[in-house]
Symmetry: C2
Subunit: 443 residues, 2 copies
């Protein structure tokens, strides 16, 4: 069965449709590589994105293509898989159809791995001012804004204006917010300082705003404190127990204080993609579909929801929205389908295995927590480097990222400091429609 | 004088303003590195672009950052140079002012190196349908369109529609058109064939349309013929002595024949940037400013026009619009200014030294002409590789390009096959405003 060649795949094989080519979707497809099924992966982009490194694109260290690989290329040798670049607009679970605008695709098994997008907790008008970081386009837009700010400040005679332009406020101190804050601060201090003749370094402020009592709340208190110290040593101002009350073109209001600034980036919360609405299924507060222990939807045993779109439990505890959880749940759903199709015994309930967490701050520091092991500083950074290179999808990307990191470390230069849109073009970063913030999935 | 540090540069030094950070502008700035002057380079992008490899970004082999370097980074160690990212909107040569919107910048010497842009010979309405290839944004948009076409064709059931989508018409058979045709044909045949399960390879057509009697007219007839054979062996249809009569959303009319197609790319002609209008100076048919033998403008001895914006002569013959001519003329203008400022004897008239020409077709073939030497095939390709790596601006870019080329050669994969804009976004490639096609200069 696995030697089916293109064009003559028997139409009688069960059709598995996977919506979303992120971590969960790709693993689901791979788990079905040897199954007697026809797999179709649908995504509205053509690439699988390695989201944990997306902040490095925003910070001009890496190019988009370093961390994105065409889904077709990843699944090229899997002969039972086809890929469709299309936007899924709905699902009819009764008639077993996926809608893509006016096209439909029938399925026998459906895996919804459509990811999550930024949420502004009801303040959707903030999205245009304070972009999130979910897609390649988001990252390129943030990069353009950061680099353009330095260019504008260099031309600016007025000290107050200059300070407004070079104040960067990051809302949300999870790994993405922390890593982005660290790398913007480092870029400002190491890379750009020698090249801008007029900017007063004292103008540059990077402020990280966190609603809760500590940064990186998923880590231990000890590591949170270490990470905060590392951020502060790079010049980042950390504001804990602070809520953002308002954002407009001129600045941010945080805990009653007005901070004039032109750059606000938002990593404070995620909302699941609308898969729950498509299915009319029960969801939690974050819009995630509550799934059964086998990750299927209660009413529809042939529909699975995985990754950030699913509210999954493991040993009675909710599974966190991490890449490793997405991969494990996608793989599990693929295995469940394989078992059913092949008549194998049913699998035990899904169980999430925590492989540990890491976050990095600047060139030399990281925190790492694996079971009872807690590392911080250079050893954790080395582990971070090895792990991230190892899990990148293609050898070419691994080599390219290794080259860029080595280069950046040695020279303090950034390899990808390109402002895509020229001055005077009607297409400025701000003019790009917002938000297009669901890269790994299909909204 | 050259040890001036930032902030305390004496305002009494002559001010040299260079408009455009392309090959000519950068060389002009570098030639002034040791002069007692204040140099300002103004460009509407933040990067210097290695335009000869831009087609490789369009063909998804290289990333934009592989061939673009921040102008600031290039001039970082030149202490008498500052860089401004701004759009020059005019010049007042009497009052010696450069206008950037409502800002002005005074100069003592002015170098206009604003490059050229695509021209449609009066048919400006074709620009939106048939983009040119001049800037990073152009290249990314062409890449998006090519890759998106394959994705659309894969979903398309109708054979005629599929064929329309996968017919690529390139207008103009200079080096850019030839290289782009070769690389699109090769990408279609080598890279993508194994990944698209439904596309019939017979649907894919690449058509190169040339108004004149042969391709690469700047080369010898022998090399033109060799290059044409190489293109045809990759499956490119070459149409000589053909004029494009019409272009619309549905296709192209070439010499009376209607070719239905969705992708037309235009490399057929260039028009100088509006520097001639700013100066109210005499220009040739292509809008290039006629300059004196020292590259200054007749009425204004302190204003120089160089590179693609200038109509220059050397030994009584017009100088071609090539990167090497831009670099040589920029360097010369810098040297003339240096001589005047330092009271050195006047330089002999500008003389263009032809270092030879090269063009490459696919992975294994190139043509090369240096004086009486004419090479084609693999030896020329190896020479092409060495020269292009050698002249890239930064070691990091050299290493990265070398890695990408080696990878593409060995695996036939493309390193940068990312469609930036997702399906269903209101921001499709076609919706981007056209043309923004003057990357090296300032329009």
């Amino acid at each position: 069965m696995k030697s089916n060649i293109k064009g003559d795949r028997p139409d009688t094989l069960p059709r598995v449709v996977i919506v979303g080519g992120g971590f969960a979707g790709i693993e689901a497809a791979r788990a079905l590589a040897r199954s007697p099924v026809q797999v179709t992966v649908i995504d509205r982009t053509n690439h699988h994105l390695f989201q944990p490194l997306l902040y490095q694109v925003a910070a001009a260290t890496l190019s988009p293509s370093d961390i994105a690989s065409p889904i077709r290329q990843i699944l090229r040798s899997q002969k039972n898989a086809t890929v469709a670049m299309a936007e899924v607009t709905g699902v009819d679970p009764e008639r077993q159809l996926v809608f893509m605008g006016d096209r439909t695709m029938p399925y026998d098994y459906l895996v919804l791995a459509t990811g999550a997008q930024q949420t502004y907790f009801g303040k959707d008008e903030w999205a245009a001012i304070a972009p999130g970081l979910k897609s390649v386009l988001d990252a390129v837009q943030i990069r353009d804004r950061v680099l353009r700010s330095f260019e504008q400040a260099e031309l600016q005679g007025d000290a107050q204006q200059c300070s407004d332009i070079l104040t960067f406020v990051l809302v949300g101190a999870g790994p993405t917010g922390v890593e982005l804050a660290g790398t913007i601060a480092e870029m400002a201090r190491l890379t750009l300082k020698s090249e801008f003749r007029r900017i007063d370094p004292a103008c540059i402020r990077v402020i990280l705003v966190q609603a809760g009592p500590r940064i990186l709340p998923a880590f231990s208190e000890h590591l949170s404190a270490e990470a905060q110290k590392a951020l502060e040593s790079l010049g980042v101002e950390v504001r804990l127990n602070c809520r953002v009350e308002d954002i407009d073109e001129g600045g941010v209001t945080v805990a009653g204080e007005r901070i004039p600034c032109r750059n606000v980036f938002w990593t404070a919360g995620v909302q699941a993609s609308p898969a729950g609405k498509w299915l009319n299924a029960e969801t939690d507060r974050a819009g995630r579909v509550t799934v059964k222990p086998d990750l299927s939807v209660p009413q529809y045993p042939n529909v699975f929801v995985v990754g950030d779109t699913a509210h999954m439990e493991s040993d009675g505890k909710p599974v966190p929205g991490l890449a490793q959880a997405a991969m494990q749940s996608g793989r599990y759903a693929g295995q469940v389908i394989d078992a059913r199709v092949c008549g194998k015994p049913a699998l035990p309930p899904f169980r999430y295995v925590d492989l540990g967490s890491m976050a990095t701050i600047g060139r030399k520091f990281a925190v790492m927590q694996v079971g009872n092991i807690q590392w911080s500083g250079l050893p954790a950074k080395l582990a971070w480097l090895v792990v991230h290179i190892a899990v990148l999808n293609q050898l070419e990307n691994q080599l390219s990222v290794l080259l860029q990191w080595t280069w950046t470390y040695l020279t303090r230069e950034r390899g990808s400091r390109i402002i895509t849109v020229p001055v005077g073009s009607s297409l400025t970063s701000q003019a790009l429609p917002q938000p297009i913030s669901d890269a790994s999935g299909v909204a």
